[in-house]
């Protein structure tokens, strides 16, 4: 594969953040960033095997008509690649086994959860163990949130970060698990990566700091390896300081802090895979 970090940013079928997500990966130092349509994967003209990082960007897959990302998760789990007859799902599992990275943002996170790629406790990839449902407000909202990074998480995308400030833009972002026991396991096992917090970084259930009523204030989780990561907030929406809602009031570095997530992903590939 040579020495270049290759990123596949998925597009099509209602995905709509592919452009700025690809831009963020480029800012983060990825040499080859390709926007690939889901139809190319299904047809077989593109294969996940040729990339190091797979990113599911935000959007409204199938209009979220059966619940956020539900119909697309169904496709990824069951559809076959036309050219090879292989299940697309097998490509995904192979991708994970090979030590590569998957990032799901917003609708992409909903997709990861509903495909069972996160949290995948016990390595049970494909089993849905959590969900994301309607915000307690019953509304789609666009607002910026403070995020506390869990220092004990294994997530490679947030390694060394303490906090983030990013926008959420969703109507179905309330993180939920079957019971409290599972929530406990997620925290103990280091699956929880991000929590909605107040300005002093205390995780909070208070609206609108916690914009959707997520249990445990969970905003992002990873799989047991830390290499599959999903989050509701949009790191790609803060790639430049002028994205910050108060950039005219504050003095900020040129590159937005959302890029840190992508940079760590790219760095990981450079250090561990290439």
């Amino acid at each position: 594969m040579g020495g270049k970090v290759k990123v596949l940013v998925l597009a099509g079928n209602g995905i709509n953040c592919e452009y700025e997500t690809a831009h963020a990966f480029r800012l983060a130092g990825a040499e080859e960033v390709e926007i690939v349509f889901i139809y190319d994967l299904l047809e077989g003209s593109k294969s996940l095997d040729d990339y190091h990082i797979l990113c599911f960007p935000g959007g409204f897959l199938d209009g979220d008509d059966l619940g956020a990302a539900k119909a697309c998760a169904n496709r990824f789990l069951h559809a076959r690649v036309k050219r090879t007859g292989e299940r697309l799902w097998d490509q995904v599992l192979r991708f994970i086994e090979e030590g590569k990275l998957i990032l799901g943002i917003c609708n992409g996170f909903q997709l990861l959860v509903k495909m069972g790629l996160v949290p995948a406790m016990g390595g049970r990839y494909g089993q849905q163990q959590a969900t994301l449902t309607f915000n307690d407000s019953g509304r789609f909202e666009d607002r910026w949130v403070y995020l506390k990074v869990n220092p004990s998480s294994r997530c490679v995308f947030t390694h060394g970060l303490e906090k983030l400030y990013l926008p959420v833009r969703h109507g179905e972002g309330k993180f939920l698990v079957a019971d409290h026991g599972v929530l406990g396991e997620l925290f103990e096992g280091g699956f929880v990566v991000l929590q909605y917090a107040d300005r002093d970084l205390n995780p909070t259930m208070q609206y609108p700091l916690n914009p959707n009523g997520s249990e445990g204030a969970v905003a992002g989780i990873c799989d047991p390896s830390g290499r599959v990561f999903g989050l509701m907030p949009h790191p790609e929406a803060f790639h430049h300081f002028t994205n910050h809602p108060r950039w005219r009031r504050e003095s900020l570095p040129e590159v937005g802090e959302g890029v840190e997530i992508f940079r760590r992903g790219v760095q990981f590939i450079k250090e561990n895979v290439l």
């Binding site: 452009y19 700025e20 209009g63 008509d65 539900k70 309607f134 019953g138």
Partner: protein, 994 residues
């Protein structure tokens, strides 16, 4: 036997949507209910095994953490009322479509075309309700009888064995394929008009006679006999002409010959086409004067204007209205409005990527509490429905909604105005050709792409060309499908860059008749094979196929040698595309149905045959009572009252629900300030992420001034749009505008006796458009008019006030030089730029006192333009910390908003404010004089700022302070306002905090 899968939330899991419904029933209908639960229902009209149904129920149709399900057995229990809401046959069912796709993916099988999945929702309600109340909930809140079907069952009526039963809302019983012929030549005047009315053609007698004259032409007669269509006109032809000649498509009023009489001066003027005389001419003159600084690439040619962004990229911009459909079904109407206007900037030239949406709504107040006339929906419902429609249309399409406003006035009760705008960007060269040019040649194929055709929206164009009445047809109501459209756009952008098509046009009003008809003007003819058009359900007549306004469709011209590659790309990207005809050079608009000619019209007659209207306009200045009241004692209280006015208060509730950041280029958002809730004047965004160049977008709308004089209303709307734009950093020398006129019917008739006055208002608005676009050198690049915004019903006529919306874009080279409206730091100096006059006519302050007045604000363009230039330079040079425009509510509101958006206080001495003839504090605070800003400046920039503004009316009036109070010293030297900013802000936030 169809199957029924029902899904509901598990016990103990919160269903926030059901809770929202419960709140909505109380807020909208005032009916308290104890509990609402929801059941999602999928009716599957295909033979599946139990095992297959279980796989679906467990898989894509339910969420294992949240939900439980049942198959062919009702899941409902424990309720007082069960209400099931599904779609009427033929209405777009997006969930049903996705459920069908998911079924095929999950079970790895291909369904037949008529094997469908239908969605509906059950609401299980607990509460003491009468049957009538339950039906009200069903029809006035949960659904709309125009598009929905309902089952309402009480606990007693419920049979848990039977349930609701799997009703399949399939379209059946249509025969289709019929062609009717009318011997027009033999009909007398009365019969001609009856035909026009019965078929909803909206053609006048003169127009009907023009058709008769055409048919009587000997060469026409001979040709018709030769080709076998016969002498009589077919319904296909008649409908196509009616649509092409409709007010909606032909803008007959804007093209009419008008005798304008000014009764004040006695002067008479003959105007041949308002559009040519004022709109097109102003743009031409501005372009000539700008010379090589002209950025217009294509104006008034296409469905959107094209304007240079830089040497490599062009912007396409269009604003449309979707008023009548939004009156009938606010959600569907607005959703179709936004996804419909998306196709306008996608269409010009070879197509562009869509980068932002705008919206402006005009509604009656949401707390309206008088009885509603027949068929009028409550304003609160319209507000919520339209808001949600635009939310779904914009958010699901991945286009940020960045700028907008809501105007409230009771006269919008009869017809709400829903302006939706979209801007796109395209490379200026595609495959070596200028992208804004397009051309279909004879021999090129006509390809329809996107959604399928049903009876939706038939007569939409003619329907919006008449007033709304009790018997208005419901076929004009549609549900948009943003995902089908997004898939289509994704695919077409790839096809565009590969040069797979030569021309593209939206299918909006008038459907294929309009899109193919327009495209055929270049090559000089077309042949449409109507029977090949893919249908949503069988049984349409040929004229319906031609006229249907089913959404999410574009028409393309594809060269024969590219068609295979194009169709293969569409197939791969799951976009339906069908060859439905070809372009010719025969000079004929020719339609066939299974080989038989069903329409054969000369292109010239089809497009140019409509007779020019002749109208009279009479202007007499209205006289309003001048309000007479003492200056109020407590101006602080008055200021709070002003901040709570619906036209001034915070619209955060709406703005937050729109994604205003997708695509990553957001620079100045619609909300700003310390707590991200200040009312920003304009939005700034960066369409190309690798560049710092930006677009600034703003708008102006002020219908109240039109009660005095639409001339100044129009002038003020344009200036407001420019001023807002400049306030956010926009460059006044690099701007382009769109004009959108919404008018009450200005054509005199028995039911419209004051038509000549309304037409005079229209003339005056156009005169202002000419005078001030040229004065500011801001060309209109596109626009739209909607001329029949009246309601007649229950013995009542409600007309909207004449309303003009200007939308303005400008180009800036570096977005880091853009500006926000919030005060930034204590110690900064507060300046007022521009002169305040006693101009309270049509102001919000007078409206609060139930008056209109007569002194409407004037635009002093020379001065304003110079002020805009210098202010822009000051912003670019970093001399300004905040800049806020003074509009509704004047200086008082602008000062308060600047302070509380920054979370800071302000001390201002009103004696310092530049003014002429203003002697009262309340008038100084609330006059709505144009050309004014509130600006804050860091103390170390004072000298440079004042030097730059020298010679213009401006003054330092106070400073920003840390303590959160707004302190205003009045003209007498005593404190007239002293209020905590938190209290002012609370007053401003409260009214629409739904």
């Amino acid at each position: 036997m169809p199957h029924r899968i029902e899904v509901t939330f598990k016990e103990g899991i919160r269903d926030a949507l059901a809770e929202k419904v419960k709140r909505g029933i109380l807020e909208h209908l005032g009916l308290p209910v104890e509990e609402v639960r929801r059941v999602e229902v999928y009716v599957i009209d295909a033979p599946l095994t139990r095992e297959q149904l279980e796989a679906l129920a467990q898989g894509p149709y339910s969420d294992p953490i949240l939900q439980r399900w049942s198959i062919d057995r009702p899941i409902a229990s424990d309720f007082d009322w069960l209400i099931e809401v599904g779609f009427l046959p033929g209405v777009t069912d997006n969930v049903g479509r996705t459920a069908r796709e998911a079924l095929m993916a999950r079970l790895d099988l291909q369904l037949r075309d008529d094997e469908r999945v239908y969605s509906s929702t059950q609401y299980l309600i607990k509460g003491r309700l009468s049957r009538e109340e339950a039906w009200r909930i069903a029809t006035e809140y949960l659904g709309n009888p125009l598009i929905h079907r309902f089952v309402v069952l009480s606990r007693v009526e419920w049979d848990p064995e039977k349930g609701v039963g799997p009703t399949v809302p399939k379209v059946t019983g249509l025969k289709g394929g019929r062609v009717e012929r009318f011997p027009l030549q033999q009909l007398d005047d009365e019969a001609l008009m009856r035909l026009s009315q019965e078929r909803l053609l909206a053609l006048s007698l003169e127009e009907m006679k023009a058709i008769v004259a055409y048919l009587r032409r000997s060469e026409v007669r001979e040709e018709r006999l030769r080709i076998g269509i016969g002498e009589g006109i077919t319904d296909v032809e008649l409908e196509a002409i009616a649509q092409t000649w409709s007010e909606h498509c032909k803008h007959k009023i804007f093209k009419a010959e008008i005798l304008y009489v000014d009764e004040e001066t006695g002067a008479e003027e003959r105007i041949l086409s308002l559009f040519d005389t004022y709109i097109r001419r102003s743009t031409e003159e501005i372009r000539r004067r700008l010379g090589d600084r002209d950025r217009c690439l294509s104006v008034f040619e296409d469905y959107a204007g094209v304007w240079a962004f830089n040497d490599r990229w062009a912007l396409t911009f269009k604003v449309e209205t979707h008023n009548t459909p939004s009156a009938l079904d606010p959600y569907g109407g607005a959703l179709t409005g936004i996804v419909g206007v998306n196709r306008d900037p996608f269409g010009p030239g070879k197509g562009s990527k869509l980068i932002f949406n705008t919206d402006a709504f005009c509604f009656a107040p949401p707390d309206y509490d008088k009885p509603l006339p027949p068929r009028i929906l409550h304003p609160r419902r319209i507000l919520e429905g339209v808001r949600e429609g635009v939310e779904h249309g914009g958010n699901k399409s991945g286009i940020p909604t960045v700028n907008g406003s809501i105007v409230f006035d009771e006269r919008y009760l009869g017809k709400p105005l829903v302006y939706c705008g979209t801007c796109g960007i395209m490379p200026r060269q595609i495959q070596g050709e200028p992208s804004h040019l397009k051309r279909a040649d004879p021999g090129d194929l006509v390809v329809m792409v996107g959604g399928r055709v049903g009876k939706d929206g038939i007569h939409g164009a003619t329907f919006s060309s008449e007033e709304l009445h009790e018997a208005s047809p419901s076929s004009a109501v549609q549900i948009g499908d943003p995902i089908t459209q997004k898939r289509m756009f994704d695919c077409l952008l790839i096809a565009r860059d590969r040069g797979l098509y030569k021309s593209i046009t939206d299918n909006g009003a008038g459907g294929l008749s309009s899109s193919v008809g327009e495209m055929a003007r270049g090559p000089g003819g077309c042949e449409i094979w109507l029977d090949r058009v893919p249908l949503k359900y069988p049984g349409l007549d040929p004229w319906e196929v031609l006229l249907s306004e089913s959404q999410e469709r574009m028409t393309l011209a594809v060269a024969p040698e590219k068609v295979e590659e194009f169709l293969a790309l569409c197939r791969k990207m799951e976009v339906e595309a069908t060859v439905i005809g070809r372009f010719t050079s025969t000079g004929k608009f020719h339609c066939l149905w299974r080989g038989q000619t069903v329409a054969y019209l000369d292109m010239d007659f089809f497009h140019e045959g409509v007779p020019r209207m002749r109208l009279e306009a009479r202007w007499r200045r209205p006289e309003h009572r001048e309000p007479d009241f003492e200056p109020p004692d407590d101006l602080g209280e008055v200021l709070e009252g002003m901040l709570s006015r619906l036209n001034i208060c915070s619209k955060e509730w709406v703005v937050r629900q729109y994604d205003h950041e997708v695509q990553g280029g957001s620079v100045v958002k619609p909300l700003c300030g310390l707590w991200d809730d200040g009312p920003q004047d304009a939005a700034v965004l960066r369409p190309l992420l690798e560049s710092l160049e930006g677009v600034v977008v703003s708008h102006g709308i002020c219908p109240r001034y039109g009660d005095i004089d639409t001339y100044w209303m129009t002038a003020c709307a344009l200036e407001e749009a420019i001023r807002n734009n400049v306030a956010a950093g926009g460059d006044p020398e690099r701007m382009a505008a769109l004009d959108n006129f919404c008018w009450p019917d200005p054509v005199p008739s028995e039911k419209n006796p004051d038509g000549p006055y309304k037409l005079a208002q229209l003339v005056r608005a156009n005169k202002a458009l000419y005078d001030f676009t040229t004065a500011f050198s801001v060309p209109c690049i596109s626009g739209k008019d909607s001329m029949k915004n009246d309601y007649i019903g229950g013995g009542l006529k409600i007309s909207i006030p004449p309303t003009v919306l200007f939308s303005v874009i400008s180009k800036i080279d570096d977005v880091r030089q853009s500006m926000t409206m919030d005060a930034k730091a204590p110690g900064h100096l507060v300046y007022v730029l521009g002169t305040t006059y006693e101009e309270l006519g049509g102001s919000e302050y007078f409206a609060m006192r139930g008056a209109v007045g007569n002194e409407v604000p004037k635009v002093r363009a020379l001065l304003s333009r110079e002020l805009f230039r210098r202010l822009h330079q000051a912003i670019r040079e970093g001399l300004v910390a905040s800049c806020h425009d003074c509009s509704d509510g004047g200086l008082g509101v602008a000062l308060a908003e600047t302070a509380f958006a920054g979370g800071l206080g302000m001390e201002v001495d009103l004696r310092e404010v530049p003014r002429e003839g203003v002697s009262r504090d309340d008038f100084l605070l609330f006059s709505e004089s144009q050309g004014r800003f509130v600006v804050t400046v860091p103390p170390d920039r004072k000298g440079a700022f004042e030097g730059l503004m020298a010679g213009l009316p401006f003054a330092p009036v106070g400073r920003v302070v840390a303590e959160g109070r707004l302190l205003l010293v009045g003209l007498s030297g005593r404190v007239v306002v002293d209020r905590p900013i938190s209290q002012l802000k609370e007053a401003w936030c409260r009214p629409l905090a739904f």
